[in-house]
Amino acid sequence: MQGLLKTLLCALPKSQAAQELRWIKQELPADQWQKAVIDRSHLKPLQYILGTQPFGPLTIRCKENVLIPRNDTEEWCIQLLNSLRGRRLNNILDYCTGTGCIALTLASSASSPKWGNIVGTDINRDAILLANENAVLNKARLMSIPSFEVCDLRKEEIPKKTGSIAFDLLVSNPPYIPVENMNTTAGVEKSVLHYEPWSALVGNLEFYESLCKIIPAIHAESFIFELGYRQQALAVRKNLPDSWFCGVKHDSSGRIRNVVGWRHPRFQYLSELIDERLS
């Protein structure tokens, strides 16, 4: 038994190793512990080993080739949900949906039956399959059912299945780590570098420019995007008409995490998410 902990300790700090071993034992049958611990000691993400990541009130299934939902994403999603509570909204579009965690969290809101369709898109077919699987898995907690389809953000493709071309809210967590920063020196974890899909990680201004082009195409009235660098927020501001209100949001560690914007004053309530205005 001690051998398992020892194996984990090769790769993880003491308290984390003990905690993760406890979760492995809780969530996997005993005959899989050995393999799980060896995989983890090679830095395979725990969520790919256990198969899930909790996200707000949901349990999100995770599979290799699709990015694992992050704590930081969960944090702003829950805050967004609070801001949207009781509000009237037309359709919502989620670009680069991955596991579907953002679209599904929005669909778990008690207010969501009053909203229009929630649509999630991704360039990766595996992500769309997984997002659909997650919709089924979390069915009991969803107040409305989102739909998912393959769309290429860089080609500014717009989902066709729903038949709607107007979306009140555009949300996205696009790839935002510049390729020159894909290393541990720039703060990317080895586990992320070696095991998660680079297609969901590597990107910069081009994705935000594409998102800004989609805004008029879908008649979006408001948006919130996750990001990692200030220059990405500035690129959004630059590509928006001056009439739009736009600001940035920092996460609970004080790092810049989102750019938020809206056109019409009826979305003024989103200002509670912003801690710095961009003009």
Binding site: P57, R70, N71, T73, I177
Partner: protein, 137 residues
């Protein structure tokens, strides 16, 4: 039993402890989700990282904080203390019951043993006599 104690959200300052480097977002994939609550009026701090779910940890941390405050406020009449007292009482009662049960069993055994001894005594005597006879020979 008093109801589960609760703390007003307005009296709580919540913090998510991330640990490690200042980096976050897509660069880092954290497996734990530690929640720290500070009770503003008293300054009491509690944390929870019992589960992988931040949602669950937030609930657990609130339960711990409420329980601790209730214990300070109500002492031996707090829910936690009353629960503990009841648990101890149940344990004592169970112990008493087992003790009584074994006492009874022991008594029964003792009774059976004396009866056996009574039955065995005559045969013992015969044996003794045989031995005596052998010795005499």
């Amino acid at each position: 039993m008093p109801p589960r104690p609760k703390v007003a959200e307005s009296e709580i300052h919540e913090k998510f402890i991330k640990g490690g480097s200042g980096n976050g977002g897509q660069k880092i994939n954290k497996t734990n989700s530690k929640v720290q609550l500070t009770h503003i009026p008293t300054g009491m701090v509690v944390t929870s990282q019992a589960t992988r779910s931040r949602d669950q940890n937030r609930k657990i941390a609130r339960e711990i904080l409420a329980m601790k405050l209730d214990e300070i406020e109500n002492g031996s009449h707090s829910r936690a203390q009353l629960l503990l007292a009841r648990k101890q009482m149940v344990k004592r009662r169970a112990k008493r019951k087992t003790k009584a049960k074994y006492k009874k069993l022991d008594e029964k055994k003792a009774e059976e043993n004396t009866e056996k001894r009574k039955q065995n005594e005559p045969s013992d005597r015969i044996k003794d006599e045989d031995e005596e006879i052998i010795v005499v020979k």
